[in-house]
């Protein structure tokens, strides 16, 4: 009997997924507690103007003496909330449109597919900039507009997957037994799209976060703090010419770290679903005679002397002996 100890869920035992989840958790925690633990108000001006990191101001100050560390902490909430809400809107839209266009026969499905291709091809950023700068932009408008313009990529993936599912035997069987279309979609197709939906959601969040930060960086919706706002001030106040690296380096690193965390989580999902993508073990293995053999999919090299065969197949990728 194995000792009954705590074990991580199987998905998180993948190192990439675990690292990604940890990074995401880190930012979620700061999104909740950020405004409380910020040492200053992000708008509080001071006398120390554009000074580097010190014990009083960990990440230095900006052109009005405001504390950049506090701006980043407060901004985390804005980034996370807008990113995830817009991501959720986009994911729901992509599910509706993607599955419908994959499952519905004929004209209806085709026209939905054309719609998502149109949204995919249109350059989103200029469109977003025009819409958000002409409307009286508050946070909700930005969330809605980002959500409404970033669903197309996933819808395309879902459509492709639904198309390949709809002629499978078990779907045909469900149809033959007279199940309603909605029941087939919800109980037969949807469960098989779970991984795609999850990884699509994470990918969309990366995109929406970047979009939101970009909009703030070009000067739209600068009233609410997020990491892009910090970069906007750094750019417009010539932080580069003043050598004020502390002004833009931490914000960029935060964006990159959050993005990497989400990407790692996505790799985890991909590898969880498609074991071929796992890169486990070295590609070259030394045989007993000293020859080097390169592992290749499709071949099963025999890598030991006949008596001491330890084929790689006897272990499953999680490291447990079968």
């Amino acid at each position: 009997m194995r000792p009954n100890r705590f074990r991580l869920p199987r998905f998180l035992r993948n190192h990439k997924a675990a690292a990604g989840a940890l990074i995401l958790l880190f930012f979620l925690v700061f999104a909740v507690i950020g405004p409380w633990i910020a040492p200053y108000s992000p708008d509080q001006t001071g006398t120390a103007i554009v000074v580097g990191p010190s014990s009083a101001h960990w990440f230095g100050t900006d052109q009005l003496g405001r504390d950049i560390y506090s701006q980043l902490l407060v901004g985390t909430r804005g980034v996370v909330v807008v990113g995830f809400l817009a991501g959720a809107i986009a994911t729901v839209l992509s599910m509706l449109i993607g599955i419908a266009s994959g499952y519905l026969p004929g004209r209806g499905g085709e026209s939905l597919s054309v719609l998502s291709n149109v949204f995919l091809v249109l350059p989103a950023l200029p469109l977003l900039i025009i819409i958000t700068s002409t409307q009286q932009s508050n946070g909700w408008v930005v969330i809605l507009v980002i959500g409404l313009t970033s669903w197309a990529w996933n819808a395309r993936l879902m459509r492709a997957q639904t198309l390949s599912l709809r002629r499978r035997d078990y779907i045909e069987a469900a149809r033959a037994t007279g199940e309603s279309t909605s029941r087939i979609i919800v109980f037969e197709i949807l469960p098989n799209l779970t991984a795609l939906i999850a990884s699509g959601f994470i990918g969309t969040v990366v995109f929406t976060v970047l979009t939101e930060i970009t909009l703030a960086f070009v000067g739209i919706s600068v009233s609410e703090w997020n990491w892009g706002t910090v970069l906007y001030w750094a750019q417009s106040q010539d932080a580069l010419a003043q050598n004020a690296w502390w002004w833009f380096v931490p914000a960029g690193l935060a964006i990159a770290l959050l993005g990497t965390g989400l990407a790692l989580l996505n790799f985890g999902i991909d590898e969880f679903v498609n074991p071929r993508l796992r890169s486990s073990g070295p590609a070259r293995i030394k045989t007993a005679t000293g020859r080097r053999v390169r592992m290749r999919i499709g071949f099963t090299p025999v890598t030991g002397a006949p008596g001491e065969l330890v084929p790689a197949l006897a272990q499953d990728p999680e490291g447990e002996t079968l």
Binding site: L122, W153, A283, R296
Partner: protein
């Protein structure tokens, strides 16, 4: 041929959609641009000119929606994109005409370079899983999640400054006039190195990751095993059998992500003060210059559609299945 016509039809439809969206946005504009312009040029504009300005900006509210939609199309047919508010009275088309070549040059070079390098790395890392190239994966995912403009800021801090050969801003040395001489072209190229490198570095990893995934999938196909069994050289199997087939999805991905890339390039231009459409767009945002913003959106959309069509042609040449008739 039939496939080509279908695609052409799709692009025409998309262009129509973009123009219509553009028109509808113009009609939901808050405030009255003409009175804003009058306030800006207080005293300089004759009050009797207001009526002609209103007509000029297409703000004649007496027209029905349908009527103004038709006259909008009429204007577009004459290449008339309206008049810029900020640089009054320069037509938007003239402004865009000045800035567009720089953007096309920058995006074109950088995108093609990053696609070629990224795909090449993807081929190698997908073929030799577990080799040193696997170490590039975390780095690649880190790079692909960095916003372009931030990488640009870092590049400027690190590589430019007094004594550096690389300029950190503008698309050519100030004081030169754009003419086709070797010295000017050399100067322009020197100014393009950093912005282009920024775009290449941040977009390359995406191509690499998707190409790697496709290579891994293709490698387990039977025809690869057969090719090995026939005793073909490693190199030949990798390039002519695996990469040849893995490339196709990457090319359609290339076409689809052009819109994203162009958006990213705009930001790089802003950071580098590069005299392209992105910089023009930033100025337009700062001054609420709606005609200019819309003109940029329209021109960029059409450019992206044209590039998409070229990518489609490439796909058609590479994938024999699409050439089948009937």
């Amino acid at each position: 041929m039939r496939r080509l016509l279908t695609r052409l039809g799709f692009y025409l439809f998309t262009a129509w959609a973009a123009i219509t969206i553009n028109f509808l946005i113009a009609h939901t504009l808050p405030g009255d641009p003409v009175s804003a312009l009058l306030a800006k040029y207080a005293g300089q504009i004759n009050s009797s000119a207001i009526a002609s300005l209103t007509a000029l900006f297409g703000l004649n509210k007496h027209q029905s929606l349908w009527g103004s939609y038709l006259s909008y199309w009429g204007q577009l047919a004459h290449g008339n994109l309206g008049i810029s508010f900020t640089q009054f009275p320069t037509p938007v088309s003239t402004l865009i005409g000045q800035y567009l070549p720089w953007t096309l040059f920058l995006v074109g070079t950088a995108t093609v370079l990053s696609f070629v390098i990224g795909t090449g790395l993807g081929v190698i890392s997908g073929w030799r899983r577990g080799a040193w190239t696997d170490g590039l994966l975390p780095a690649a995912s880190f790079l692909s999640s960095i916003p372009y403009f931030w990488l640009g800021l870092i590049a400027i801090t690190v590589f430019t400054g007094p004594g550096s050969w690389l300029p950190g801003s503008f698309s050519f040395s100030q004081g030169l006039t754009p003419v086709w001489t070797t010295s000017f072209v050399g100067d322009a190229l020197q100014h393009a190195i950093l912005p282009a490198a920024t775009i290449v570095v941040s977009t390359m990893s995406g191509w690499m990751l998707s190409m790697r995934n496709m290579m891994v999938t293709v490698t387990s196909e039977d025809y690869i095993t057969v090719a090995h069994a026939k005793g073909l050289s490693e190199r030949r199997v990798m390039l002519s059998y695996a990469a040849r087939n893995a490339l196709l999805p990457n090319i359609s991905g290339f076409a689809l992500s052009l819109g994203f890339i162009v958006s990213g390039t705009f930001l790089v231009e802003i950071v580098f003060n590069y005299q392209g459409v992105g910089l023009l767009l930033l100025q337009a945002i700062g001054a609420d210059d709606y005609p200019l913003m819309q003109g940029i959106f329209l021109v960029i959309t059409l450019a992206v559609l044209a590039a998409n069509f070229l990518a489609d042609l490439a796909y058609l040449i590479l994938d024999p299945r699409t050439r089948q008739e009937g």
